[in-house]
């Protein structure tokens, strides 16, 4: 990250200029196959000798339990909702992402702040506050957006894990049942993601394609980042220790 910078008001106590790694965010609504592709990307990168760290939404040590609890108790206000995610993100940013970037790792982020921005906007109709809150986020080197249309998404989710309360935005009471609510909520999210894709220059991949085609596209988008600034470690590959993630 040669010209690393913060999204807004940054971490005043942390200078982002010495971050050698690359930050790649994979965005997309629920059920587009983000985590499968991240696993495959990690494998692909590690085989080439790059150190890879993955980080996932709500997976921080500090907050994962808290967010589970909050979801069980149905938090109602949009502020706490976004602030809980912001805290989780800040914890991972400072304890995982920045240290890894500083050591030259490639960080693959399963979802990034754009997820939070979309969710907050759908709940409030206001973009400014959430963007201010997440001002301390690093701007990623690359954002891959796995785009899907809501019709395909609905079929896919029903075929696999089914619809849950939060992915259906049931707190917003958008529809009469889980199905209607899911469809309405996810359409709103996709609509907002599409707008952000333009504004923040996401690389868009059609998530309706076959997994092989998608993976190939993602790799093609990541490849230029590797050649421009990162060199494969010069250590012999058998001495290169893999990071535990």
């Amino acid at each position: 990250m040669v010209d690393a910078r913060y999204f807004g008001d940054g971490l005043t106590y942390l200078n982002p200029s010495d971050l050698k790694g690359k930050l790649i965010a994979i965005e997309g609504t629920d059920g587009v196959g983000r985590s499968t592709h991240i696993e495959m990307l990690q494998e692909w990168l590690e085989v080439q000798g790059y150190g890879v760290v993955t980080t996932g939404w709500t997976r921080s040590n500090l907050m994962s339990k808290t967010i589970e609890m909050a979801k069980e108790g149905n938090i109602l206000d949009r502020w706490s909702f976004s602030l809980l995610y912001a805290t989780d993100f800040a914890d991972r940013l400072e304890h995982e992402i920045i240290p890894a970037l500083r050591s030259g790792f490639i960080v693959l982020a399963d979802r990034y702040i754009y997820t939070a921005l979309a969710r907050d906007f759908v709940r409030s109709g206001n973009r400014q506050w959430a963007r201010d809150v997440f001002g301390f986020a690093l701007v990623p080197d690359l954002v891959c957006y796995m785009r899907i249309d809501v019709e395909t998404l609905v079929l896919r989710v029903i075929e696999t894990k089914g619809m849950n309360f939060w992915e259906s935005g049931m707190d917003l009471r958008l529809g009469n049942d889980l199905y209607d609510s899911f469809k309405k909520y996810q359409s709103l999210l996709i609509e907002e993601f599409d707008k952000m894709a333009e504004e923040f220059h996401f690389e868009v991949t059609d998530a309706r394609k076959s997994p092989d085609e998608i993976q190939e596209e993602l790799r093609a988008k990541i490849q230029p980042l590797l050649t421009s600034h990162l060199k494969s470690p010069e250590l012999p590959s058998d001495r290169f220790t893999q990071p535990t993630s």
């Binding site: 339990k65 808290t66 502020w79 602030l83 400072e94 809150v133």
Partner: protein, 249 residues
């Protein structure tokens, strides 16, 4: 929802009254608020009380983070904002909308003073709290650092806690010295905040009764045109809150 990106300076639109106190640990603000609470209840008001960092969900998390010392200035700040948001929504706004009185021990100004001292951006923290409402009355209990220290050490607490003394900032190995340095910078931040948000400054070195009389006079004046609202008939819940050891985070 408003589109401003700093805390509002205009009065809130609700029929209730929000009165808050601010000051460093050992300033005596909690004692004063408790006495005010008793007085208001004795006058027949229904009063709601809310305290900084007290929502169950966040308190547990803060405790966990403090225990393994993994909190950073930003996560510390965001956790307190989450707590505040959840209390604003659940504890502060409903009584205010119903026309009742809410007393808050610490408000967003605590974050402006403390989190900025810990190193977060002053602009960022103000934007973070832009969803807050302006209190009807905000009292700042001003006390010199030495008075606060002797009160705290002479009282029931005996020893300063890790984060209260700002030990996470590596200011000094000695807890009391660290407390002195940390709370002094907080005092300096409060000084700016008092002007910026026009808090009412109280001389917290005066004795308890004098301060309380001053406070009651000011509150009485501010409530002159306020019409109390309550659902129960004349049942006064006086003396339900006892003095206990003041808890600060």
């Amino acid at each position: 929802m408003s589109t401003q990106s700093t805390p509002p300076m205009t009065p809130h639109p609700y029929p209730g009254k929000l009165i808050i106190v601010e000051g460093i640990d050992g300033s005596g603000k909690s004692t004063q608020l408790l006495l005010l609470h008793k007085w208001l209840e004795s006058k027949g008001h229904k009063v709601f009380f809310t305290e900084w960092n007290s929502s169950e969900l966040v308190k547990e998390t803060t405790k966990r983070g403090k225990k393994n010392k993994s909190l950073t200035p930003t996560t510390f700040s965001l956790l307190h904002a989450t707590d505040f948001a959840s209390r604003l929504y659940h504890e502060i706004l409903p009584p205010l909308k119903a026309g009742m009185i809410v007393l808050a021990d610490r408000y967003m100004y605590t974050a402006f003073a403390r989190d900025v001292t810990r190193g977060v951006s002053p602009e960022w923290i103000r934007k973070l709290y832009s969803f807050a409402i302006t209190p009807d009355m905000a009292f700042y209990f001003k006390v010199p650092i030495e008075v606060a220290i002797s009160r705290l050490l002479g009282g029931t607490r005996g020893q300063f806690k890790y984060y209260e003394a700002g030990m996470d900032m590596n200011l000094n190995q000695d807890v009391t010295e660290s407390f002195r340095l940390f709370q002094s910078s907080i005092l300096a931040q409060y000084k700016k905040i008092v002007d910026e948000f026009q808090l009412i400054t109280m001389d917290a070195t005066k004795d308890i009764e004098t301060q309380q009389n001053d406070m009651r006079l000011l509150v009485g004046e501010a409530l002159k045109d306020y019409k109390p609202r309550r659902g129960t008939h004349g049942r006064r819940t006086v003396f339900w809150r006892r003095f206990d050891v003041p808890k600060s985070e």
